[in-house]
Symmetry: C2
Subunit: 395 residues, 2 copies
C-alpha cells in the first residue's frame, strides 16, 4: 500500500475566505478548521471520543512538553502519539519554539538553537532545529512545525529582524533535516514553515517571501497574539496571508477567540489552534452567541434550560445551567469537563457554519451577522488574561 | 398508575451471604451491591452515563452537602436530585448525621439535634430529625436515612450509650415525620433505620433490638469504619447483622475497600457505600486483583498493556498503564477520570462476582480465593489515611 501523503485542495473562495480539504496520513479534514490543544497528549479533561464528538478533526500537541515528559523516546516506544493517547485522527505538533519563547529568563537563544531549563525539574536542555524536527518525527505527528524564534511584543525592529533571520535559517535547517530523515518527509509527515517579523510591516513581507520560497506543505503565521492589540493582529494576518501561496494551507498559530476565528478566515486563514476555549472553560467562562458568560453568577442559580439554547453539545443537551453553576461553585471536576465540551463545540460549530457560508458564497453576511451579536471580551481584560497566561505558561 | 413502592426480596442465601433484589421508585437493583458516592450531586469527575457503564445501579448523595449548596429548595425547584444531576436510577441520601459528626469542634449536639457551622461560609445551622427527613424528601431520594448521632472511636461507654439512645429517639422522630409527610412514605420513598452502639457489644445488641423493632424499609449498621481496627469492624458487623430482620435489606455505611466488601457480605450485609474507590483513584492508587498499586511508579513508565489485564472497564480497554502514569505525573484531569472509572468498575465487578458465587452456592470458596490473592493496604497506612480524611471531611 502506498504511504498516504499530505495534500491540500482549495475547493472554494468567497472574497478572502477559503474552503478546502486537508489530507494527512491519519485522515482528512475540511478547512477552515480549529484544532483543540492537547498540550500533554490530552485535551484537558476530555477523552478522544469526546474530542471527536465536539467535531474536532485535527488536534495540536506540544513537542516541548512531551519531550520533557514523558519523553519522546517513551512516546515512540508506546507506538507514537496517536497510539499513546488513543487519538486516531491527524495530529499537528508545535515545535517548542513558542514554549521556549514563553519561558522568559529561563532561556538563552543562540544561532544554534535555544538553551533552556525545564519548567518541571530545572534540568538544562538545548533545542536545535534538528532536534525539534527529530522530536516531532519521534512523536509521529502528521504535521510538524519548523523550529522558530518567537519574540516578545515591544521588541525593537533590530531585535525582531535578528530573530526573523534566525527563524529563516532554522526553517532551512528543519526542511533539510525533515527531507533527509527516514522518519520525516519519507513517512508522509508534512512540515510547515513559520513566518515571523513581529509588528513590522516590511519584516512581515520579507519573512513571507523567504519562507514561502521554501517548498513547505503549509505556511503558518507565527508571532502574533503575543500582546499586540487585535487591530494589529488582524492587519498583519491579512498582510502575511496575502503573500502566501494560494495552493497551500495557511495556519494562524495560537488564535483564537470566536471573533478572531471569523476575522482570521476573512483574511484568508485555513487553520487555527488555541487553548483559550478550554482554558477559559475551566474558569467557568462559557461561549454563547452573545459573548462569554460567567456561569458562577447567581442569575444561573435556577435556570432550568441549558446555558446556550442554540447549542447541540453534550453539555447543553443534558444539563441545566443551574447544575453547571452548582458544579463550578462546588469545585467539582465534572464542571470543568462539561464546560470544556461546550466551549470546544461552540468553536467547532462556528467553524462549520463559517465553512458552509463560504461554500454558499455568503461568508461576508455571516461574518457581519455574527460580529453584530457576539460581544468580545473587553480588550483590557483580555490583555491582562493573556499576560497572566504567558507568565504562567498555561497549557 | 399506582405509585411504585420500595420492596426487597431475599432470593438466596449461602452461609451468611445473601443475594436479593431491591425495588425502588427509580428501578431495581440486585444485591449485594455497592453504591458509588455522589456527595455533591456528582460522582467526582464522572457523567451519569459513565457511572452506569461501570455497573452502578444505586448511587449515594449527601443531604448535608446539598442542603448547604446549592440548597434543598433549589434542587427541588429543578425537579429533584435525579433531574438535577441527570441520573435516572435510584438514589440513597445520607441524612447528614455522619457529616455533622465529622465536623468535630464546629458542632454541638443536643437532644433536639445538631447545631453546626457550615464548612463553606461559617453560617450556623441546626439539623433536627424532622429537618433531616424533610431535606431528603425535598431532594427526592429513593431511600432516605434516619438522622443519627455517630460518635468517635475511643469514646467512653457512657458517651456511646447517650448517643445511641439519642439516635433511637431520633429514629422514631424520623419515622413519624416520614409517615406524616405527603412527600415521604406516601411517595414510595423508603426510610432506613441506623444501628449505633460503638464498639460495645451489649450496646450494639440493644441498638439492633430497638431499631429493628421499628418498621423501617431497611436497616443500616452505622458508626463503624470510624477508626476501630478491621477485626472489630468485621465482628460488630456480623453481630449486628445477625440481629436484624431476615426479610429487610442491611446496609453497612461507609464501607469499603475490596476486602471489606467480601467480609461484609460474608457477615450478611446487602448494601455498601464508600468514597474510597474514587478518593484513592484521584491519588493514583488503583485496584488490581493483587491489591492497590501506585500508578506513578516508574515500573509503569513503558507498560504497553492496561494496568489490570483482567479488567473490562473503559480505562483498561483503551489506555496503557504508561499513558495513565503520564497523565498522573503531568497532573492531567483525564487521569483522575480514568482512574475513578477503573476503581469503581473493579469494585462493582467484584460485587457481581460475589453475587454470582452466592447464587451458585460457592461464596465461601470465592471469598477464600479472593482474599488469598488480594493484599490489603497496610493497616497502619490505612488508619493514617482514614484519620487524615476524617480531619479534612473529604467527600
Amino acid at each position: 500500500m502506498p504511504q498516504p501523503r499530505f495534500k491540500f485542495q482549495l475547493q472554494h473562495t468567497d472574497g478572502g475566505a477559503r474552503a478546502g480539504e486537508l489530507e494527512t496520513p491519519h485522515g482528512k479534514a475540511l478547512t477552515p478548521l480549529f484544532m483543540p490543544v492537547a498540550t500533554q497528549a490530552t485535551v484537558k479533561g476530555l477523552t478522544p471520543e469526546e474530542v471527536k464528538a465536539v467535531g474536532a478533526k485535527i488536534i495540536l500537541s506540544n513537542a516541548y512538553h512531551l519531550y520533557l515528559r514523558p519523553g519522546v523516546e517513551t512516546v515512540s516506544k508506546m507506538g507514537g502519539l496517536h497510539e499513546f493517547m488513543g487519538w486516531d485522527g491527524p495530529v499537528l505538533t508545535d515545535s517548542g519554539g513558542f514554549q521556549a519563547f514563553s519561558m522568559g529568563p529561563l532561556r538563552k537563544v543562540t544561532d544554534d538553537g535555544i538553551r533552556f531549563r525545564s519548567h518541571i525539574d530545572g534540568s538544562e536542555h538545548h533545542f536545535t532545529p534538528q532536534l525539534a524536527t527529530a522530536n516531532q518525527e519521534g512523536l509521529g505527528a502528521d504535521i510538524a512545525m519548523c523550529f522558530d524564534q518567537c519574540i516578545a511584543y515591544g521588541a525593537s525592529e533590530k531585535q525582531v529582524r535578528q530573530a526573523m533571520e534566525r527563524t529563516h535559517r532554522w526553517a532551512q535547517a528543519c526542511f533539510d533535516a525533515h527531507q533527509e530523515s527516514p522518519n520525516g518527509a519519507a513517512t508522509g509527515q508534512a512540515l510547515f514553515g513559520i513566518v515571523q517579523g513581529g509588528v513590522f510591516s516590511e519584516l512581515r513581507d520579507e519573512s513571507a517571501r523567504v519562507i514561502s520560497a521554501m517548498p513547505f506543505h503549509g505556511y503558518a503565521v507565527g508571532g502574533l497574539a503575543v500582546g499586540e492589540d487585535k487591530e494589529q493582529m488582524y492587519r498583519f494576518t491579512g498582510q502575511v496571508a496575502g503573500r502566501l501561496p494560494q495552493d497551500k494551507p495557511r495556519y494562524l498559530m495560537g488564535v483564537g477567540s470566536p471573533e478572531d476565528l471569523v476575522q482570521g478566515v476573512a483574511r484568508g486563514i485555513d487553520m487555527f489552534d488555541c487553548a483559550l476555549p478550554t482554558r477559559v472553560a475551566r474558569n467557568g467562562s462559557l461561549f454563547t452567541p452573545e459573548g462569554r458568560i460567567d456561569i458562577t453568577k447567581s442569575r444561573y442559580a435556577e435556570q432550568q434550560g441549558p446555558l446556550d439554547e442554540t447549542c447541540d453539545c453534550y453539555t447543553c443537551r443534558n444539563y441545566s445551567a443551574a447544575y453547571l453553576r452548582h458544579l463550578f461553585r462546588a469545585k467539582e471536576l465534572l464542571g470543568l469537563r462539561l464546560a470544556s465540551i461546550h466551549n470546544l463545540r461552540f468553536v467547532l460549530a462556528l467553524m462549520e457554519r463559517i465553512r458552509k457560508s463560504i461554500v454558499e458564497d455568503r461568508f461576508d453576511a455571516f461574518r457581519t451577522g455574527f460580529l453584530e451579536v457576539y460581544q468580545p471580551t473587553d480588550e483590557m481584560a483580555r490583555q491582562q488574561q493573556k499576560a497572566q497566561w504567558l507568565l504562567t505558561r498555561g497549557g
